[in-house]
């Protein structure tokens, strides 16, 4: 139900830094999540990643964005079904204080 994940990369700066942990709650109905939620998903090609949910399209695909300036967004990541989302972030456990 609740899991810890470790962030690898800097595309979610300043929300999440490389090496941070975050505690996340399993998501049963991804379509109920509000845009702006930070989610953990399994991308069909690129595997597990953390992104910010920016919305849905009419086919229930999810739109994603990175918080960092150079991070990938939906234009790079392609269409992803909402079911790819497995968890939503509850809070961050920073690597550095």
């Amino acid at each position: 139900m609740i899991r810890l994940f470790r962030v690898s990369g800097r595309s979610m700066l300043p929300t999440l830094e490389d090496g941070d942990f975050f505690l996340a709650l399993a998501v049963r109905n991804p379509l109920s999540l509000k845009p702006g939620t930070v989610v953990r998903l399994i991308h069909p090609h690129f595997g597990p990643m953390v992104k910010r949910l920016s919305g849905y399209d009419q086919h229930h695909h999810i739109l994603l964005s990175s918080d960092g300036q150079t991070g990938a967004d939906s234009a790079d990541l392609g269409t992803i079904p909402a079911q790819a989302i497995t968890h939503r972030m509850l809070f961050r456990i920073p690597r550095r204080r």
């Binding site: 690898s8 979610m12 942990f21 690129f46 990643m49």
Partner: protein
Amino acid sequence: MIHQFIEKVAGDSIDDVAAHCDVPCAIYDPAPLLISALTVVRMIDIMEELESHKPDSNIAYQNTMARCVAQKEEHAEDVKHEVRVIWGDYLKAPQFEKFPNAHELVHNIMLTGSKCKQGVSRDDALKLVELCNEFAELFWATKGVETKRAVCPYKPSLETVYPVL
């Protein structure tokens, strides 16, 4: 403190999630940086042209000048960004061995790009275009793609490197 504790007791069992900046998509092309470098020259040309004519309206003059300055700034920065991406993400040890001047060339583009942001020297902007041409030739050479130089079919009508595909 909490992070250290968790890392110590459960670090190995925690799954990584990627927050990588690059997918990687493997799409690299020096065309955008060349267009940006040409735009820097064009903006300086428009600014000089504007300055040489007595403005009908001071507000209109300032508006156009401000827009040109903003575009020059943006495109010079775009050059630096595009070069950095190719240098940092695409070029690797085998290319650096084959093209040992790559680092110096990229550094020169960075310096000249900044000069173009700071000033309005057309010579600096021309130098930026030439350095970008050399970088484009280097990039295509790493892929074994032949290049040619031709005058771009739009102002500022400068010699530009194109791949022969």
